[in-house]
Assembly symmetry: C2
Homo-oligomer: 304 residues x 2
């Protein structure tokens, strides 16, 4: 029942209307694994440079996150410098220093190759395909992607989309990939490639789940303040996959709850910079927001 994530480890420098941080812990695999680890054991496959602070490694290890697939390469760690203005749905990238990530080819340790759950975070779809060739017969593979790969590696991305069970993407990217304004039509075309489900991430508006012939909408949790949206999507994916691995079933019902749990985890992530809030979540808080989500979405009409 093991869960493996392959993605980036980064040092992020971020400015938002609420403040800023320099070289804070970040990266898709980092956010994902800390989030998923709340629900289920998780193994991280990624790369850091020689300059990656030992305290972050110690933190991940203290959580019980499997680090056998974490490579320390010579050179500097991947860095991202970004800024958000008042539209917190939109990051402005000021700098991307790939560093050791530029030549990263994920190698799964032999003991990970029989894993049941795989999350391919947003990396080059050619690398996502490399990972797929290394796993034997996972129960569930999900992937995330982004506009850059839609534009520059469309064929590899299509191959990857066709090979996985669940696709997670932003709403704008779903529309961009298919080339239509109609989300319904875009979802149908992506599902036609093979995945059994498409999760559309909609930032402050929540997330939706499209399966053949059905759909589900979850709002985002109404946070009092959003300080830094970085990592929201990756920690959403962590909550989503972690919940599914824990539930051990892939029914429509389980996927719907997984979307809600993804939304819950993302709602904590954005309340502070880096993984600051995510690190502190308790089970009581998750349970509290789960009950809130039920209350926020319930309606019961008398017939009219």
């Amino acid at each position: 029942m093991s869960l493996v994530v392959v993605g980036s480890m980064a040092l992020d420098s971020i400015e938002t209307p609420s403040g800023k941080v320099e070289e804070a812990l970040g990266g898709s695999a980092t956010y994902f694994s800390v989030a998923a680890n709340l629900y289920h054991e998780v193994n991280l496959v990624g790369v850091v440079g020689e300059d990656f602070p030992q305290e972050h490694i110690d933190f991940l290890r203290s959580r019980g996150i499997g680090l056998a697939g974490l490579e320390r390469a010579s050179g500097r760690t991947f860095r991202w410098v970004g800024r958000y203005a008042y539209d917190l749905n939109m990051a402005e990238t000021l700098q991307t220093q790939l560093n050791v990530f530029a030549t990263f080819h994920p190698q799964l340790p032999p003991e990970y190759r029989n894993c049941d759950y795989v999350f391919l975070a947003n990396i080059d779809p050619e690398l996502q395909l490399e990972v797929l060739r290394q796993v034997r017969s996972p129960k569930l593979v999900a992937l995330d992607s982004m506009n850059y790969w839609i534009r520059h590696k469309r064929d590899a991305l299509t191959e990857a989309l066709s090979a996985v069970d669940i696709v997670l993407m932003n709403q704008a990217e779903v529309r961009q990939y298919v080339g239509t304004l109609s989300l319904v039509r875009a979802a149908r075309e992506i599902l036609a490639l093979g995945p059994q489900a498409l999760v559309v991430k909609r930032g402050e508006y929540g997330a939706s789940l499209f399966t053949p012939g059905d759909c589900f909408f979850s709002p985002a949790y109404p946070c009092e303040e959003v300080r830094d949206p970085t990592g929201a999507g990756d920690s959403f994916a962590g909550g989503f996959m972690g919940y599914l691995a824990r539930a051990g079933e892939l029914t429509e019902g389980a996927m719907r709850c997984a979307v809600v749990h993804g939304s819950i985890i993302a709602s904590f992530t954005v309340e502070d910079f880096s993984l600051n809030r995510l690190k502190e979540i308790t089970w009581e808080e998750i349970e509290g927001r789960y009950q809130d989500f039920r209350r926020f979405t319930r309606f019961e009409g008398k017939d009219v």
Copy 2:
């Protein structure tokens, strides 16, 4: 139990990526009353010019919409010319010809002054206050507004917001009025003025209802294609108020269902230009989408 709407009657010329129409029937009071009339009898207070086509009057009358408060003034009817690009959430106004609407002062016929339900569509808040002085003791008054009045008639708008029971506004306008990015905080401040509920319209993302200490989120119906978003907000309001008048209660539960019915009606409106689709809605279709909304929002988790 009568329901009165005060708002605009217009001839709209609209272009969207799906096509265009010239001088088609439009206006907030028009969309509202045709929508609300699906649920409850409704009386329209507004003004048209000498050039307003008789066929539109005949259509409204054929629906049983009360027209005792419809004034025909000398001059031309209000006209709006607008365009939507691929972001259908954002109208670009090319021309506004107020014409007879410029000097409109709504006069409620004596028999409307005892009405129970009043909807003040998006007009000058000073006119909204004039209407409020003409009604005796309505059970429920709701209003809509827009960015223009927030900027140019802020004090009158604040007075109007303080005098009504329910406020309906777009998300951006809610934030703009309060001057905060936090929707939660903005809702709290608007409710502190006096209204018992705030309905936040979020376009393709649905709508949310804020009441003191609680909130509710409804998605938008996933339409296969949106041809023209004009009138979505006003027909939402019509479905919302029409449902409440029919239900005859103002509980949290009734308001939640009213938000869902508003969303259903808006989802039909946007499927075609002008009131073309709205005119054809059947009860079976409303009931069908209501069941869809229940299916699209239901989740039932096993405890984790």
